[in-house]
Symmetry: C2
Subunit: 124 residues, 2 copies
DNA sequence: CGTATATACCTTGTGACACAAGATATAATG
DNA sequence: CATTATATCTTGTGTCACAAGGTATATACG
């Protein structure tokens, strides 16, 4: 017997979920764009600076994917802390990708905002 | 034997996909917020006003879901056009939901933009 | 020396979802 | 009666985030 999510959460919650997912990769890249950070640190950073909640099961697969595609580079650093940490930084290729993503984000944001304004002319 | 999407599309494309998905429901709701519209009309409206590309396989399931949850109301109109059309309009409940969604969209947008600005202090 | 706690990373199974492709309906046109 | 145009709906598939659980390393306590 498992958890039954059946009719428990309203459509709005689902939507929020999905919206957050859309920006996840961007948020993660931004987290490591100015300074290298390791996994849990990224989680804390996002939580603190934007209260975007991301969990480990989410972030590690994404970081793996980004590493595999050459957008970020990973480096193990051990000795300085109890547990070794894997620091991620943006590669050169990643920096280019990030710029494209930012362009796209701006454009997307404008589209939605445009829709909002257009539809906003509804209250007669 | 099926299409092999294997390594054909770059990570960036996937990301764009996901971002678009995040705002889909919002975009659809906005499309029917000021005036009732039918399925294909919504597709054309989004395409023309924001060049967001949405297909039928995408929109009908979403409209069905929104109808089932009472956020939009659907009404068949036939006789006036060759083929009967199903017009969707925002319900009262839907209007409330839309407002919440807009709040959330604004807040989400700010969070990402905040991240961008913070990370933007990287070019030393 | 256990064993508990803290920090870190990684993996597996699941459910949700958009979407391509195709099915179905209606009416006008040739 | 086929074809074309417009419209809606369904089915199968691949992708993805995520909860839950696993592994590794080191320190602290008794």
């Amino acid at each position: 017997m498992r958890k039954r999510p059946v009719e428990t959460d309203k459509p709005l919650d689902k939507w929020r979920e999905q919206l957050r997912r859309g920006g996840l990769e961007l948020a993660i890249l931004l987290s490591v764009s100015s300074t290298p950070r390791y996994g849990l640190e990224i989680i804390r950073y996002l939580q603190e600076s934007t209260d975007l909640v991301v969990t480990e099961g989410t972030i590690y697969p994404i970081l793996g994917r980004l590493t595999r595609s050459g957008i970020v580079e990973a480096e193990w650093i051990s000795g300085e802390t109890p547990h070794p940490r894997k620091y991620y930084r943006l590669s050169n290729q990643g920096r280019k990708a990030l710029e494209e993503m930012l362009d796209h984000w701006n454009s997307y944001r404008s589209k939605i905002d445009h829709l909002v304004e257009t539809a906003g002319r509804m209250e007669s």
